[in-house]
């Protein structure tokens, strides 16, 4: 059985996907209209990473002297983090590490990565040689898919995997990883062991049910973590937005009713064959 695992999950918070998003420019600070009022959720792919981390820890708990452990590191406005953690805390056991900073997709990823890497490097009790750095392979805000890689490089981790759907740990500490590649396939890799970076796609686990007991235990750590959250000042790194716009999504829809399946099939076939 592998030794104790130290898993750090980087997870941002994002507006609930059902909300209407409208970009705004408030005194050169870009954001989403009424962003603070919009309900937020844990970034979906990062949430997959958290659930996979929790499952791994259950499977490989380590020993009483050296227990496996999950840290959840999240950058966002404190009030929003607190709101989201009320739910997330009930899903999996973790030690919460909060960084007070802006929500949203418009800050530069390099600055975000620098703050995350600095925070992770300073985590008390974290042993780098046991580290599995988890997160979503892309966020639902910026969606760049670079933050985790940058954090990994800053922490000197040379084995990185993106679009991960599965990890299987072996007794000798090595692990097999399935990464998404083009054409609906997985690339299978065998890595000699930790440390490594894994940017998760969907994984294979369903969202865990709420467990109030886990939530109570987590909340004892979450509130102090929020109180002592450091503020992050994210630099633009020369990034300038020349325009932000919403796509024209409205189409003129033709509703076809009362036609036989055969007539519809004929029309669809003609459309499919049309060059």
């Amino acid at each position: 059985m592998p030794n104790a695992l130290h898993i750090v999950v980087c997870a941002g918070i994002v507006p609930d996907p059902l909300q209407t998003l409208e970009p705004v420019n408030n005194s050169n600070v870009l954001g989403i209209k009424n962003e603070n009022a919009l309900p937020a959720v844990l970034d979906p792919w990062a949430a997959s990473a958290l659930y996979e981390a929790a499952a791994l820890i259950r499977k490989f708990p380590g020993s009483p002297q050296q227990p496996s452990k999950v840290w959840l590191v999240s950058l966002g406005p404190k009030a929003k983090l607190q709101q989201v953690m009320m739910t997330v805390a009930q899903k999996a056991s973790f030690q919460f590490v909060a960084i007070d900073g802006p929500i949203g997709g418009f800050p530069d990823a390099h600055s975000t990565a620098a703050v995350l890497a600095e925070t992770i490097a300073a985590l008390p009790g974290l042993e780098r040689e046991r580290l599995l750095l988890f997160g979503g392979w892309e966020s639902a805000t910026r969606g760049a898919g670079v933050t985790l890689q940058l954090v990994g490089e800053r922490l000197g981790i040379a084995d990185q995997f993106q679009g991960v759907d599965q990890i299987e740990l072996r007794d000798d500490g090595s692990f097999e990883v399935l990464e998404r590649i083009e054409g609906g396939k997985h690339q299978v890799s065998l890595c000699a062991g930790t440390p490594a970076v894994l940017g998760w796609a969907t994984g294979s686990l369903a969202e865990p049910r709420n467990n109030p007991q886990v939530g109570m235990t987590n909340m004892r750590g979450i509130l102090p973590a929020l109180q002592k959250a450091k503020s992050a000042n994210l630099q633009a790194n020369g990034l300038r937005y020349l325009s932000l716009s919403l796509p024209k999504t409205q189409r003129t829809t033709r509703l076809v009713k009362d036609q036989s399946p055969k007539a519809i099939a004929d029309e669809l076939l003609a459309w499919i064959r049309e060059e």
């Binding site: 040379a158 083009e182 990034l239 519809i264 076939l269």
Partner: protein, 358 residues
Amino acid sequence: MESILVLAHGYGSGNLLAKTSLEAVTAGVNLARQLGATLSIGVIGADPASAAGRLAPTGARLLAVSGEAFTQARYSSDAAACEALCRAAQASIVILPGCARFARVAAGVAYRLAAVIDTHITAIGGTDNVEASRWFYRQRVEAIITRDTRPWFLLVDTGTHPAYELPLGESALSEGVRLPVALEQIAVELPPQRTTVTGLRSPTLGGETIRPDAKLLFVAGAGWTKKQPDGQVHGSDAARLILDFLNASGASLGSSKSLVDQKSENQGAGENQQVLPFLTHLNQIGQTGATPRHRKGLSTCCYGEEPHVVGWRFISERRAISLDPNCGWARGKADVVYVADAFQVIAELNSLMNSGQG
């Protein structure tokens, strides 16, 4: 003056460049012309001489990193190769294809070079300044960005540029024709490799259903596994109809999240068999799934909720079959909505296509 480097990789034996790499070459050639910039192309592969040779007509300086270690799409070796090519080219703009191989390493390489990176670029323009278009919030907000910092890495989304057209016919290319070319081999000092790529695995049963080059995207929604008018779930019929359609039309298969997540309504608690066993999360389209690029899309038994429809951003022509005339598709998200039973319509379509009319 800007100098541009395009990074590309071969596939298979390395004689051919991946299509995504040829798309990045187009982006690089166009930008170099626009800016009057110098162009270099760096190719990674086991033996990329043939592949790089075919890029001679671009007039670019051609660089290569070659060796057995570079047949594998692996972070540590690919990052070392890309870093070496970038250092050799000394480019201010680095363009890479947004394929899985380069998406895995590009940011790491950018960090090593004290560069900055932007990904999912859909267009590159500008005359005085380089401007790049990309989407935020999963294709819900479009932005044009620029940066003063150099080097600047731009990872170009696949399907946004035509593949660079080679002067030779495809048949000649596949025979491994080589052009005389000055190809600079760049040496790479590899760190000890802790990762080995052991192979590829297709998670789908019943054939490969994800076809990025298909003209048509066929999306199956949760309605396929709901109870039908006879009060029964017809999961196996749905599976057969969908697979028959995919085989006859050559379409790529997408799915709503609810369908890939759900289990059959008629299965008891604890059973874990999906009604459509060939569907996985890789088929999922939308907010937490893929945003594929196909010319046409046909949605079936899917309600057209916003988190799913954001995955349709790059589908030009959209049609839907739904029993609900008030579904999301009917509210300006599809061009045509057929209010009908998808089981019947797809059966008719399959019959037409299999009878030779397709």
